[in-house]
């Protein structure tokens, strides 16, 4: 019984998976962003503005991703000098700046939001975007860039002493993540049909972080598992009515206790 309800749930699931990957990418290089919602907002607003001016969906989507990636460069630049928890604080601040900007920016509707967006998002497009994102992540892992990101994550002193340009690698990974979040935002806008700044607030960024951590931050497929659980469980738990968020929260605590590294294990290399 595949209803339009489940179709819509699947689309949002795909968008959330994409958001999860968008955070997984900079996290491979040790950059934990709590501002992915901001890049999603940028992608959503830019693409919605473009399709409203009759630009076809695909170029609008890509433009949203590109502007988000550019914003990622701007937000990432100061993050180069700091590490760990300070990157989280910085990206959190960036997320708030973007949210408040759209809240007050009248050309995109300001506080009353932006409606009348055409329903252009289709499930297969979102699924394809997720596939492409995974292909990129997989390919990257087996190339210079992916190795460099892991090396920076593990030990940036060694990475730099071995010839890795920290600035460039960190910026590329941050901005690539922002691009993915921007595309996810574009899909979101053309599925939700109405967007306002508060849909992209801190809880959006925090829940994206949850997808990755819950699923397993060391495994690229962790975000699928994490996003699936966080998106689907509250829906499936609707039968228990008022208790669903309580049960959901309890399950999160249990995961944190029993599997602190997330549900999926780190992929172990083959032993010869």
């Amino acid at each position: 019984m595949w209803s339009s309800y489940w179709d819509s749930v699947a689309v949002f699931l795909g968008i959330n998976v994409l958001m999860g990957i968008s955070l997984y990418v900079p996290m491979t290089a040790g950059l934990i962003s709590l501002g992915q919602g901001a890049f999603m907002a940028i992608g959503a607003y830019v693409s919605a503005l473009l399709t409203k001016s009759n630009v076809p969906f695909l170029p609008a989507l890509l433009a949203g991703g590109a502007v988000a990636a550019a914003a990622g460069l701007v937000a990432g630049a100061p993050a180069l000098r700091i590490r760990g928890i300070y990157v989280m604080i910085l990206t959190l601040g960036f997320g708030e700046i973007v949210r408040v900007f759209f809240l007050n920016f009248e050309p995109t509707g300001g506080a009353s939001g932006m409606g009348g967006i055409r329903p252009l998002t289709e499930l297969w497009q979102v699924a394809l975007a997720c596939l492409i994102a995974y292909a990129v992540v997989w390919r990257m892992r087996h190339l210079r860039l992916g190795r460099a990101m892991i090396a920076i994550h593990e030990d940036d002193l060694v990475a730099e002493a071995m010839g890795i340009n920290l600035t460039r690698t960190k910026l590329v990974s941050f901005s690539l993540g922002a691009l993915m979040a921007g595309v996810a935002g574009g899909f979101y806008a053309h599925q939700a049909l109405f967007i306002d700044a508060n849909q992209f607030d801190f809880s959006r960024s925090a829940i994206t972080f949850l997808y990755v951590v819950l699923g397993g931050a060391a495994n690229p497929f962790g975000s699928i598992v994490g996003a699936a659980i966080v998106t689907l469980l509250p829906e499936l738990l609707r039968v228990v009515q008022d208790w669903r968020m309580t049960i959901f929260g309890t399950m999160l605590v249990l995961v944190a206790v029993w599997r602190p590294d997330g549900l999926l294990p780190a992929p172990r290399l083959r032993k010869s």
Binding site: L143, R144, H153, A161, L269, R270
Partner: protein
């Protein structure tokens, strides 16, 4: 005899502590040049300054006649100076072979268009780097370990892996910081042979080491540091008999240990 690396009146302070005081030293191309001295003499400080991990408080560094004082470590590696680490620092999460490939990182950067081509499957540089890494593993006698995890190796193999990683960057100058730490006599002999083979391949080696038998048997030149000052420099035979070295390094004339 051409000078490959020139350390010119280099000093380094940590607050009020002078770790290195006005050190000058020339490393001749093709030599194995050892840096010895008691603990806290400033060997590792000098080593970190040469590889760019630390900046000198004053003084100049030049490599092949080019002043590189203040350059970042990744730039210095590209110039041809590669190093290992005293406390082994390998990248967990990458296989042994991939750890070596990290060393070839700078060599396989083909710019935006080239890198995009690599990404899309025309992985020419990638394959070359993999091949290079295999050769380097073979060079340090670890040909069979490529698919293992660094954590699964013995400490001695981890040290050899670091040497392979440094060699993968095609350096002119290899900096080795206490590569013999924790090795038994057999492994020491193998390390000595490995360093000689590296030298035979045309590389210059700057070696920080406590193990006197190794240092005396493979070094062409020795520089002795004590309390941040260079107190002697010369060939092993001269250093072994230098009274200032014996006094600073071994206390009161314990000469047999130096010449053993």
């Amino acid at each position: 005899m051409t000078t490959l690396l020139r350390i010119d009146h280099v000093s380094r302070r940590f607050g009020g502590y002078i770790a290195l005081n006005d050190a000058s030293c020339e490393i001749v191309e093709g030599h194995v040049h050892a840096l010895i001295g008691p603990n806290g003499a400033g060997k590792t400080t000098l080593f970190n300054i040469v590889s760019g991990v630390l900046r000198p408080t004053s003084g100049k560094l030049s490599f092949q006649g080019v002043d590189y004082t203040g350059c970042r470590p990744d730039k210095i590696l590209t110039m041809g100076i590669a190093r290992n680490f005293q406390q082994v620092r390998l990248v967990r999460g990458l296989s042994v072979l991939e750890n070596v490939m990290i060393g070839a990182h700078a060599r396989i950067d083909r710019g935006l268009i080239g890198n995009t081509a690599e990404f899309l499957g025309f992985a020419v540089a990638e394959r070359a780097a993999r091949e290079k890494a295999r050769m380097m593993l073979e060079f340090v006698d670890m040909a069979g370990s490529g698919e293992m995890q660094p954590d699964d190796l013995t400490l001695v193999d981890q040290r050899r892996l670091e040497i392979a990683r440094a060699l993968a960057s095609d350096p002119r100058l290899l900096l080795l910081d206490e590569p013999a730490a924790g090795m038994n006599p057999t492994e020491l002999n193998e390390l000595g042979a490995l360093i000689s083979r590296i030298q035979a391949n045309g590389l210059t080696v700057l070696l920080v080491e406590h193990h006197m038998r190794l240092v005396m048997s493979i070094s062409d030149r020795i520089t002795v540091l004590s309390a941040g000052n260079i107190i002697a420099a010369g060939p092993p035979k001269v250093i072994q008999r230098d009274p200032a070295v014996i006094a600073a390094y071994l206390g009161n004339g314990d000469e047999p240990a130096l010449s053993s």
